[in-house]
Amino acid sequence: MKIAKFWLVALSFAAILVFASCDKDDDKDPTLYEKLGGTERVADPAGGGMIEKGRLGLRSVVDSTIFVIAADPSLSPYFASLLGEVGSGNLTNLAVLSKNLTDFFCVATGAENFAYDGLDMAAAHDPARNPRMALKADNASYDSFIAAVVVGAQQNSVPSELITEVGALLETLRTTVVQR
Protein backbone atom coordinates (compact mmCIF):
# COMPACT_ATOMS: atom_id res chain seq x y z
CA MET A 1 0.00 0.00 0.00
CA LYS A 2 2.80 2.38 0.95
CA ILE A 3 4.60 1.54 -2.28
CA ALA A 4 1.44 2.16 -4.29
CA LYS A 5 0.94 5.51 -2.58
CA PHE A 6 4.56 6.44 -3.28
CA TRP A 7 4.20 5.68 -6.99
CA LEU A 8 0.89 7.50 -7.16
CA VAL A 9 2.43 10.62 -5.67
CA ALA A 10 5.52 10.34 -7.89
CA LEU A 11 3.45 9.93 -11.07
CA SER A 12 1.19 12.82 -10.09
CA PHE A 13 4.21 15.03 -9.49
CA ALA A 14 5.71 14.02 -12.82
CA ALA A 15 2.44 14.72 -14.61
CA ILE A 16 2.25 18.17 -13.04
CA LEU A 17 5.81 18.93 -14.16
CA VAL A 18 5.15 17.75 -17.71
CA PHE A 19 1.93 19.70 -18.16
CA ALA A 20 3.37 22.78 -16.50
CA SER A 21 6.37 22.77 -18.83
CA CYS A 22 4.12 22.18 -21.86
CA ASP A 23 2.03 25.18 -20.84
CA LYS A 24 5.18 27.31 -20.67
CA ASP A 25 6.27 26.20 -24.17
CA ASP A 26 2.85 26.93 -25.62
CA ASP A 27 2.76 30.43 -24.15
CA LYS A 28 6.33 31.30 -25.15
CA ASP A 29 6.46 33.72 -28.08
CA PRO A 30 8.63 32.51 -30.98
CA THR A 31 11.91 34.37 -31.27
CA LEU A 32 12.68 36.38 -34.38
CA TYR A 33 15.15 33.62 -35.32
CA GLU A 34 12.35 31.05 -35.13
CA LYS A 35 10.12 33.26 -37.27
CA LEU A 36 12.92 33.51 -39.82
CA GLY A 37 13.15 29.73 -40.08
CA GLY A 38 14.35 28.45 -36.74
CA THR A 39 16.41 25.32 -36.16
CA GLU A 40 14.82 23.14 -38.85
CA ARG A 41 17.75 21.78 -40.85
CA VAL A 42 17.69 22.12 -44.63
CA ALA A 43 20.15 21.44 -47.42
CA ASP A 44 22.72 24.22 -47.75
CA PRO A 45 22.65 25.44 -51.35
CA ALA A 46 26.21 26.73 -50.96
CA GLY A 47 28.88 24.34 -49.87
CA GLY A 48 26.69 21.30 -49.36
CA GLY A 49 25.75 19.76 -46.04
CA MET A 50 22.87 20.89 -43.85
CA ILE A 51 22.17 24.26 -42.27
CA GLU A 52 19.56 25.66 -39.92
CA LYS A 53 16.81 27.35 -41.91
CA GLY A 54 17.01 30.47 -39.76
CA ARG A 55 20.74 30.82 -40.35
CA LEU A 56 20.32 30.20 -44.08
CA GLY A 57 17.78 33.00 -44.28
CA LEU A 58 19.92 35.40 -42.29
CA ARG A 59 23.02 34.52 -44.29
CA SER A 60 21.20 35.22 -47.55
CA VAL A 61 20.10 38.60 -46.24
CA VAL A 62 23.61 39.39 -44.99
CA ASP A 63 25.20 38.42 -48.32
CA SER A 64 22.79 40.64 -50.25
CA THR A 65 23.23 43.46 -47.75
CA ILE A 66 27.00 43.36 -48.16
CA PHE A 67 26.64 44.16 -51.87
CA VAL A 68 24.31 47.07 -51.10
CA ILE A 69 26.74 48.39 -48.46
CA ALA A 70 29.75 48.11 -50.77
CA ALA A 71 27.88 50.02 -53.50
CA ASP A 72 26.95 52.92 -51.17
CA PRO A 73 29.60 55.66 -51.20
CA SER A 74 28.34 57.05 -47.88
CA LEU A 75 29.26 53.78 -46.14
CA SER A 76 32.64 53.40 -47.88
CA PRO A 77 34.69 54.82 -44.98
CA TYR A 78 33.35 52.14 -42.68
CA PHE A 79 33.58 49.16 -45.03
CA ALA A 80 36.50 50.02 -47.29
CA SER A 81 38.32 46.81 -46.42
CA LEU A 82 35.50 44.84 -48.05
CA LEU A 83 36.84 45.94 -51.42
CA GLY A 84 40.46 45.28 -50.52
CA GLU A 85 42.06 42.76 -52.82
CA VAL A 86 43.63 39.61 -51.46
CA GLY A 87 45.92 37.24 -53.25
CA SER A 88 44.36 34.47 -55.28
CA GLY A 89 43.44 31.51 -53.07
CA ASN A 90 43.41 33.58 -49.88
CA LEU A 91 40.49 34.18 -47.54
CA THR A 92 38.62 37.32 -48.53
CA ASN A 93 37.06 39.97 -46.32
CA LEU A 94 33.73 39.20 -47.96
CA ALA A 95 33.86 35.69 -46.50
CA VAL A 96 34.89 36.95 -43.06
CA LEU A 97 32.26 39.68 -42.91
CA SER A 98 29.55 37.31 -44.15
CA LYS A 99 30.31 34.76 -41.46
CA ASN A 100 30.76 37.23 -38.60
CA LEU A 101 27.70 39.33 -39.45
CA THR A 102 25.60 36.18 -39.87
CA ASP A 103 26.79 34.95 -36.47
CA PHE A 104 25.90 38.32 -34.96
CA PHE A 105 22.40 38.37 -36.44
CA CYS A 106 21.77 34.74 -35.44
CA VAL A 107 22.63 35.48 -31.83
CA ALA A 108 20.80 38.82 -31.81
CA THR A 109 17.59 37.24 -33.16
CA GLY A 110 17.60 34.47 -30.55
CA ALA A 111 19.48 31.53 -32.09
CA GLU A 112 20.90 29.20 -29.46
CA ASN A 113 23.32 27.13 -31.53
CA PHE A 114 25.67 29.90 -32.59
CA ALA A 115 28.04 32.30 -30.91
CA TYR A 116 29.31 35.73 -31.80
CA ASP A 117 32.80 36.12 -30.42
CA GLY A 118 33.56 39.61 -31.69
CA LEU A 119 33.75 42.83 -29.69
CA ASP A 120 30.60 44.16 -28.06
CA MET A 121 28.89 46.85 -30.13
CA ALA A 122 30.02 49.77 -27.98
CA ALA A 123 33.69 48.83 -28.00
CA ALA A 124 33.58 47.75 -31.63
CA HIS A 125 32.42 51.18 -32.80
CA ASP A 126 34.63 53.24 -30.51
CA PRO A 127 37.90 54.22 -32.26
CA ALA A 128 39.56 54.61 -28.87
CA ARG A 129 38.98 50.94 -28.09
CA ASN A 130 39.01 49.51 -31.58
CA PRO A 131 41.71 50.89 -33.89
CA ARG A 132 39.97 49.37 -36.94
CA MET A 133 37.13 51.86 -36.48
CA ALA A 134 38.62 54.84 -38.32
CA LEU A 135 35.82 57.21 -37.39
CA LYS A 136 32.75 57.17 -35.21
CA ALA A 137 29.45 56.38 -36.82
CA ASP A 138 26.80 59.06 -37.09
CA ASN A 139 23.03 58.79 -37.46
CA ALA A 140 23.12 59.32 -41.21
CA SER A 141 25.51 56.43 -41.79
CA TYR A 142 23.54 54.20 -39.41
CA ASP A 143 20.36 55.06 -41.32
CA SER A 144 22.17 54.01 -44.52
CA PHE A 145 23.23 50.75 -42.88
CA ILE A 146 19.68 49.91 -41.80
CA ALA A 147 18.39 50.84 -45.26
CA ALA A 148 20.96 48.46 -46.78
CA VAL A 149 19.76 45.63 -44.52
CA VAL A 150 16.16 46.33 -45.54
CA VAL A 151 17.10 46.19 -49.24
CA GLY A 152 19.01 42.95 -48.63
CA ALA A 153 15.99 41.45 -46.87
CA GLN A 154 13.62 42.55 -49.65
CA GLN A 155 15.90 40.97 -52.26
CA ASN A 156 15.47 37.67 -50.38
CA SER A 157 11.68 37.94 -50.12
CA VAL A 158 11.64 38.26 -46.33
CA PRO A 159 8.05 39.11 -45.27
CA SER A 160 7.60 42.81 -44.54
CA GLU A 161 6.52 42.21 -40.94
CA LEU A 162 9.78 40.38 -40.23
CA ILE A 163 11.77 43.13 -41.94
CA THR A 164 10.09 45.56 -39.57
CA GLU A 165 11.18 43.41 -36.63
CA VAL A 166 14.76 43.27 -37.89
CA GLY A 167 14.70 47.04 -38.33
CA ALA A 168 13.39 47.46 -34.79
CA LEU A 169 16.17 45.20 -33.51
CA LEU A 170 18.79 47.33 -35.25
CA GLU A 171 17.20 50.47 -33.83
CA THR A 172 17.82 49.14 -30.31
CA LEU A 173 21.54 49.25 -31.13
CA ARG A 174 21.53 52.81 -32.49
CA THR A 175 22.48 54.58 -29.27
CA THR A 176 25.34 52.12 -28.79
CA VAL A 177 26.69 52.18 -32.33
CA VAL A 178 26.23 55.88 -33.11
CA GLN A 179 28.87 57.70 -31.13
CA ARG A 180 29.15 60.93 -33.10
Binding site: D72, Y78, F79, L82, G87, L94, N130, R132, A134
Partner: protein, 148 residues
Protein backbone atom coordinates in the same frame (compact mmCIF):
# COMPACT_ATOMS: atom_id res chain seq x y z
CA UNK B 1 69.60 13.79 -14.45
CA UNK B 2 71.11 17.22 -14.73
CA UNK B 3 68.62 19.98 -14.00
CA UNK B 4 69.39 21.77 -17.25
CA UNK B 5 68.55 18.70 -19.34
CA UNK B 6 65.35 18.19 -17.38
CA UNK B 7 64.43 21.83 -17.90
CA UNK B 8 65.11 21.61 -21.63
CA UNK B 9 63.05 18.45 -21.97
CA UNK B 10 60.18 20.05 -20.07
CA UNK B 11 60.34 23.15 -22.22
CA UNK B 12 60.46 21.01 -25.35
CA UNK B 13 57.36 19.06 -24.30
CA UNK B 14 55.53 22.29 -23.42
CA UNK B 15 56.50 23.77 -26.78
CA UNK B 16 55.29 20.68 -28.59
CA UNK B 17 51.99 20.67 -26.71
CA UNK B 18 51.54 24.39 -27.35
CA UNK B 19 52.19 23.85 -31.04
CA UNK B 20 49.59 21.08 -31.18
CA UNK B 21 47.04 23.26 -29.40
CA UNK B 22 47.79 26.15 -31.75
CA UNK B 23 47.45 23.95 -34.84
CA UNK B 24 44.14 22.51 -33.62
CA UNK B 25 42.83 25.98 -32.75
CA UNK B 26 43.71 27.47 -36.13
CA UNK B 27 42.15 24.49 -37.90
CA UNK B 28 39.00 24.94 -35.80
CA UNK B 29 38.88 28.60 -36.84
CA UNK B 30 39.37 27.70 -40.51
CA UNK B 31 36.73 24.94 -40.66
CA UNK B 32 33.77 27.32 -41.33
CA UNK B 33 35.60 28.57 -44.43
CA UNK B 34 37.01 25.33 -45.82
CA UNK B 35 33.73 24.31 -47.48
CA UNK B 36 32.44 27.86 -47.95
CA UNK B 37 32.40 28.81 -51.64
CA UNK B 38 32.67 32.45 -50.58
CA UNK B 39 36.05 31.86 -48.96
CA UNK B 40 37.96 32.94 -52.08
CA UNK B 41 35.26 35.19 -53.50
CA UNK B 42 36.55 38.75 -53.96
CA UNK B 43 34.35 41.85 -53.92
CA UNK B 44 35.27 44.64 -56.33
CA UNK B 45 33.67 47.89 -57.35
CA UNK B 46 33.48 50.03 -60.48
CA UNK B 47 32.43 53.67 -60.32
CA UNK B 48 30.65 55.27 -63.27
CA UNK B 49 31.05 58.94 -64.04
CA UNK B 50 27.32 59.58 -63.78
CA UNK B 51 24.13 58.08 -62.41
CA UNK B 52 22.60 55.23 -64.36
CA UNK B 53 19.17 54.55 -65.74
CA UNK B 54 17.37 51.27 -65.12
CA UNK B 55 18.08 50.14 -68.69
CA UNK B 56 21.76 50.98 -68.39
CA UNK B 57 21.96 49.04 -65.11
CA UNK B 58 20.28 46.07 -66.79
CA UNK B 59 22.73 46.19 -69.70
CA UNK B 60 25.68 46.35 -67.30
CA UNK B 61 24.45 43.32 -65.36
CA UNK B 62 23.91 41.42 -68.61
CA UNK B 63 27.45 42.22 -69.79
CA UNK B 64 28.89 41.10 -66.47
CA UNK B 65 27.02 37.81 -66.65
CA UNK B 66 29.02 37.01 -69.80
CA UNK B 67 32.36 37.27 -67.99
CA UNK B 68 33.61 33.96 -66.67
CA UNK B 69 34.54 34.09 -63.02
CA UNK B 70 32.03 36.77 -62.04
CA UNK B 71 29.52 35.33 -59.61
CA UNK B 72 27.07 38.10 -58.68
CA UNK B 73 26.58 41.82 -59.31
CA UNK B 74 24.66 44.69 -57.75
CA UNK B 75 24.17 48.08 -59.38
CA UNK B 76 23.34 51.23 -57.43
CA UNK B 77 21.94 53.43 -60.22
CA UNK B 78 21.57 56.55 -58.06
CA UNK B 79 25.18 56.41 -56.91
CA UNK B 80 26.50 55.16 -60.27
CA UNK B 81 28.33 52.25 -58.67
CA UNK B 82 28.63 48.59 -59.51
CA UNK B 83 29.73 45.96 -57.01
CA UNK B 84 30.45 42.45 -58.18
CA UNK B 85 31.93 39.30 -56.73
CA UNK B 86 34.46 37.26 -58.64
CA UNK B 87 37.04 34.54 -58.20
CA UNK B 88 40.44 36.22 -58.61
CA UNK B 89 41.96 32.90 -59.69
CA UNK B 90 39.67 32.94 -62.75
CA UNK B 91 39.36 36.65 -63.55
CA UNK B 92 41.04 39.68 -62.00
CA UNK B 93 39.34 43.00 -61.30
CA UNK B 94 41.50 44.58 -64.03
CA UNK B 95 40.24 42.13 -66.62
CA UNK B 96 36.63 42.60 -65.59
CA UNK B 97 37.05 46.37 -65.90
CA UNK B 98 38.66 46.00 -69.31
CA UNK B 99 35.97 43.65 -70.63
CA UNK B 100 33.12 45.73 -69.22
CA UNK B 101 34.62 48.94 -70.64
CA UNK B 102 34.59 47.30 -74.07
CA UNK B 103 30.99 46.13 -73.67
CA UNK B 104 29.17 49.22 -72.32
CA UNK B 105 29.56 52.86 -73.41
CA UNK B 106 29.42 54.55 -69.98
CA UNK B 107 32.76 55.91 -68.72
CA UNK B 108 33.92 53.98 -65.69
CA UNK B 109 36.90 53.46 -63.46
CA UNK B 110 37.96 50.85 -60.97
CA UNK B 111 37.36 51.74 -57.34
CA UNK B 112 40.66 51.35 -55.50
CA UNK B 113 41.16 51.17 -51.76
CA UNK B 114 44.28 52.77 -50.36
CA UNK B 115 46.41 51.29 -47.61
CA UNK B 116 44.97 53.56 -44.91
CA UNK B 117 41.41 52.56 -45.73
CA UNK B 118 42.40 48.89 -45.84
CA UNK B 119 43.73 49.11 -42.29
CA UNK B 120 40.45 50.46 -40.98
CA UNK B 121 36.81 49.75 -41.40
CA UNK B 122 34.08 47.67 -39.91
CA UNK B 123 35.46 45.64 -37.00
CA UNK B 124 33.77 42.44 -38.11
CA UNK B 125 36.13 42.30 -41.07
CA UNK B 126 39.12 42.48 -38.78
CA UNK B 127 41.19 39.40 -38.31
CA UNK B 128 44.52 39.22 -36.61
CA UNK B 129 47.32 38.77 -39.09
CA UNK B 130 48.52 35.37 -37.87
CA UNK B 131 45.00 33.93 -37.77
CA UNK B 132 44.33 35.08 -41.33
CA UNK B 133 47.56 33.51 -42.53
CA UNK B 134 46.81 30.23 -40.76
CA UNK B 135 43.28 30.18 -42.21
CA UNK B 136 44.78 30.67 -45.66
CA UNK B 137 47.17 27.79 -44.92
CA UNK B 138 44.35 25.38 -44.11
CA UNK B 139 42.23 26.66 -47.00
CA UNK B 140 44.97 25.91 -49.47
CA UNK B 141 45.45 22.43 -48.05
CA UNK B 142 41.79 21.38 -48.12
CA UNK B 143 40.41 23.34 -51.07
CA UNK B 144 41.33 23.84 -54.66
CA UNK B 145 41.43 27.64 -54.97
CA UNK B 146 40.62 27.41 -58.67
CA UNK B 147 37.40 25.47 -58.14
CA UNK B 148 34.17 27.36 -58.63
Amino acid sequence: MKPIILLMRTLGILLLLSGIVFICYTYYKAVPFINDPKANLQLSRIDFSDTLTANQAKAIRASLAEIEGVQHAFVNPDAGTLVYSHYPAVVSAEKVHAQLSAAVPQPMERHRVDAAALASGCPVTGEKGIMRRMTNFWLNIFRNPNAL
